[in-house]
Amino acid sequence: MSDVAHAHGHDDHGHHAHPAGFMRWLTTTNHKDIGSLYLIFALIMLFAAGAMALMIRAELFKPGLQLVHPDFFNQLTTMHGLIMIFGVIMPAFSGFANWQVPLMLGAPDMAFPRMNNWAFWILPVAGVLLMTSFLLPGGAVAGGWTMYPPLYIQGGISYDLTILAVHIMGLSSIMGSINIITTILNMRAPGLTLMKMPLFCWTWLITAYLLIATMPVLAGAVTMLLTDRNFGTHFFNAAGGGDPVMFQHIFWFFAHPEVYILILPAFGIVSQIIPTFARKPLFGYASMVYATASIAILSFIVWAHHMFTVGMPVAAQLFFMFSTMLIAVPTGVKVFNWVATMWRGSMTFETPMLFAIAFVCLFTIGGFSGLVLAIAPVDIQLHDTYYVVAHFHYVLVSGALFSIFAGVYYWLPKWTGHMYNETLGKWHFWLSVIGMNIVFFPMHFLGLAGMPRRIPDYALQFTEFNQIATVGAFIFGFSQLLFLAVVLKTIKGGAKASSKVWEGAEGLEWTVPSPAPYHTFETAPVIK
């Protein structure tokens, strides 16, 4: 990032009369308010979906049926997945984008503040639709987050609610993405060229394009599901001449890029944090941008690796196998650059940096197990086993979720004006990193030994590893209460944070006071 000639951080001069209380939050068009709303929503949903995960792990502590009915178990696994993806990770990253993108670009707000308000406020509606479906006759959806027919054609009323919720969440994502792309392309401060932007903005720009190119596909797929369910069509109903495998193709054409939607902003956050605490500029900035774009482009041509077992020509298997493996190249470039940034840096290990380093190490494990699963003959053996569960939790927990923790610790002082408690932060880190590995590492062995996923009961030989995983899950789950405590404590008070919270931090957001004033950069800063 180039030097800032002069930055403008304005106090709230009160030139708008803000409504108070709930109406302030309902009607707000301020990017900081909306960023906070996204983050609060994600935190609430994290605890809801986390509670479901603990119920799943409690049931799996012993073979046999212990605590929940098998159908309710299926509802838990389905809703855990849906909520964690659409209700936690995506809204949390949208929260970061809302807070940070205008601050990083020297823009006064997002390009379309009113649309920004709508994009957020339809999200809780979708959340309520999903959560209340537990109370309906037949319970919540139980057919897996992948929404495959025929289960999703046969289920009860909650399946319609879920389809509606997915439509709403998709609409929210598209509105958010249009806003982010437009803000980045049109609202940058003078002199801030694309190749001078912080990497977080680059990763979100590419993520937003991915969202716009995939969410309508998901919307199309679930619309067809809806008409199959309610209007007598047979898009995916084999009995009527439809093709359930077509749903899988359409779904994964959305859902593989979705994986990168869940991880590219994480790359951006980590790429902001590592240079700060290594006190060195990011190594290979341009290659990071090109690697991110390469990953995004490749993500569109790998979808069928999720469905090798449906049967496809060998040529197709080879194509999807090798194209999947190719993604390791730009991902490797990124990991290399993060390590090279740390190399001979003056490193300190505050909580954000600890989470960022854990991200680099543990996400790489998830990446490697992804490479293992890319090999078609291996995947056919490991498909729908706990190896897959271990793989994607290493990517999404120690990847996406850890980057969210890292980002919250990194920017919380800027958002609240207070420093968080470093000791509690470090406790949260160590309990999370130890707990997370105890939960998910044994799942590799369970999968290799053949334990299928999405079952409430299992054969006796899987008991020990399941018990270890359950103990880890409770350590990991309850340590998140510590995170909640740290966040609440920091919002309430604490040591005053300076404008440049971290010694090695670079960028426009560190030129405004902490907490960031309600209105910032009403006069655009000039970047040299």
Binding site: A111, F112, I178, T182, R188, G220, T223, M224, A524
Partner: protein, 37 residues
């Protein structure tokens, strides 16, 4: 970049957004159309 150029770029935000929204809508309809094949 001059102030005029920045104002001009910010003024184009509606065009950018409209093109993106159009693309999303077209992709949605294209997916449905393919389902009908």
């Amino acid at each position: 970049m001059s102030d005029a150029a920045m104002t001009d770029r910010r003024g184009r935000k509606y065009l950018t957004a409209a093109l993106l929204a159009l693309f999303a809508l077209a992709l949605f309809l294209f997916t449905l159309f393919n389902g009908l094949q």
